[in-house]
Symmetry: C2
Subunit: 400 residues, 2 copies
Amino acid sequence: MRVAGIIVEYNPFHNGHLYHLQKTREITNADIVVGVMSGNFIQRGEPAIVNKWARTKMAILNGVDVIFELPFAYACNSAEIFAYGAISILNQLGVDFIVFGSECGDIDKLKETAKHLAFEEDDFKSSLKSYLKEGYSFPKARELALIKTCKTNIEFSSNNILGIEYIKWIYRLNSKIEPFTIRRIGASYNDPNLTQDTYASATAIRRNINNLHAIKNKMPSVSYEILLEEFESGRGPVILEDYFKLFIYNAIVVPDFLKNKIDVKEGLENRFEKYIFNSPSAKNLLENVKTKRYTLTRLQRIFIHAIVRNNFDQKALLSITPYVRVLGFNYKGKEYLNKIKDKIEYITKLNQQWLKNPQYKELLELEIRSSMLHALQYKDFHKYLQTEFKSSPIYISSRS
Amino acid sequence: MRVAGIIVEYNPFHNGHLYHLQKTREITNADIVVGVMSGNFIQRGEPAIVNKWARTKMAILNGVDVIFELPFAYACNSAEIFAYGAISILNQLGVDFIVFGSECGDIDKLKETAKHLAFEEDDFKSSLKSYLKEGYSFPKARELALIKTCKTNIEFSSNNILGIEYIKWIYRLNSKIEPFTIRRIGASYNDPNLTQDTYASATAIRRNINNLHAIKNKMPSVSYEILLEEFESGRGPVILEDYFKLFIYNAIVVPDFLKNKIDVKEGLENRFEKYIFNSPSAKNLLENVKTKRYTLTRLQRIFIHAIVRNNFDQKALLSITPYVRVLGFNYKGKEYLNKIKDKIEYITKLNQQWLKNPQYKELLELEIRSSMLHALQYKDFHKYLQTEFKSSPIYISSRS
């Protein structure tokens, strides 16, 4: 049985994602494609527009065989930590391949850069050190050191960076996963504009989320229908702005609420303090606070972490092995899950037993908290606050 | 100069309040009437429907000469603590009289009961002890002990209780203030219904706050106009339900968020836990949690204290002397304030100097926090979060 893994957010599932899925089967000739998916908050530090259960349904109905959860602590984090979480889960599952989109589309280039990062050869290390001394932030210093010491010339765009991180962790974890990349088609990851093209970035779709007519042809019809159903039931779209009041609330009732928090350094809390009580929106606040080092995405994650009260030791995240939790599957996925169940312990239904497991306790508590805070934005939130304990994985026996 | 004090909430200022004010002048023949008014949260554990600045304007335009602030820590609290705060401020001001409304309207009866409470004569004390042993809550045991040992027969209705507490503190503080009472006219304090009568309880008015036509004739036109202006500017009506999401938020992110909090005893936190994540509204939640001992009003205060993060030592409140802060005044009030300024230190404009005063620091911080949380419910809250530091007392030189 050939198994391919993909690392996804599906926020929401669009035509570009379908292309990625088809290419994954084509390149790897896999019998099974499993996805590791961000939960209710995504890597860019935003809430997912609809919750993970709806997005799992989209994924399975569009042909992914199993969806596993990337825990909040990893999903809503830097490329390095996000990648570690995803690769660690796929490695536990023992998948044979991963296929990811990148701007460069050249796996050899990405591998070479990743090798440098994974084993930090001496010249790279000393170069990194000197850039850090010059005052560059760690990611920037690392990029500059790579450019200087690594022969390949690669653009440090968001998907290239993620791809390099995936491969780095494959090397570091001594994993047998074989990585493939495809060049991303259509709009780039961050292109905020919708065109006539049937391919659009998830970012562009989210920005136009209230213009349903405009986004309809950018995604498979099942995605669109699920999106509609979620919105009509008051379970979305959930956006960053919905959390602004809660952020301000924290600033009011918790003295120094950002001090010594994850990734808050260099007096960033003072920049927040300057703008927090006179900004009309989260967008405006974060634009005001933004600096070269603190990009919008980084600030958004700090914003979300403050609300979720995420105090997880960030270094510890890279040394523990995350839990494996099934969110949904189809008939083929069911067979696959049956086959692996003797080899690997995975969560299907969350219960107190899992929460007592010291290895997973903190990750799961954070996951539950973040899910409750996603649900808090739904119209009838009292019906959904306890969804984590009530939900079983989504099973779809056929592609209907 | 004869000075009368009144203790008010004006939420909002209605015809019954005007009657009380006129009677106060009539009975005491006072030159000056000063009011001590609840700020942005009221004794029943609810936000004021419009903020203290708007309500101060109502008061001054309706003829009160000066409005002083009853700090949040006292205002949003039990009758005993509320009364202590108010009497302590009026006593510092050296007013000659207080006039309050009560259901019984008989000052001698109220005085006699208050005397018992103030000095807790031996038979009362032992009776109280035995009722407590029988399992009654403190207020109920005290009521039963009073009925048993005090010759007067008095109904323990909300305004009688407040009146008794006022007089008790006059005795305890050895104050020279002379108390008067008038029988409340029209609807009772808690009557939730509006009638054709031009007198209605503040509770009834608040319940019909969105039916502006129905409440218009229950209040002086200046009150109505100020109310309208506040609503049209998005600064109200602020209601308890507006805080429901913040309460749930606290329950999600703070483990045991009610444990050992003010007035939370006898496993009340477990009752909350049972209902908190499946109740559709604050009203529904509190109705579910309600018991004989934990009345709705008491639960509402617990609800507000949780949101404001009020951890003020409740016993300490009865031994410190609260600050005196001017919220507004008219021409006569200005003269009065000039006259007393050598005798008593009062706050006009809040600044860091006052906040550094160790005697007032905690009270003021709580006041500011509660004001910010009131403002957080306005449409353009970012314009009002720092109002406490920007506002000067309201001065109205003539009655319009």
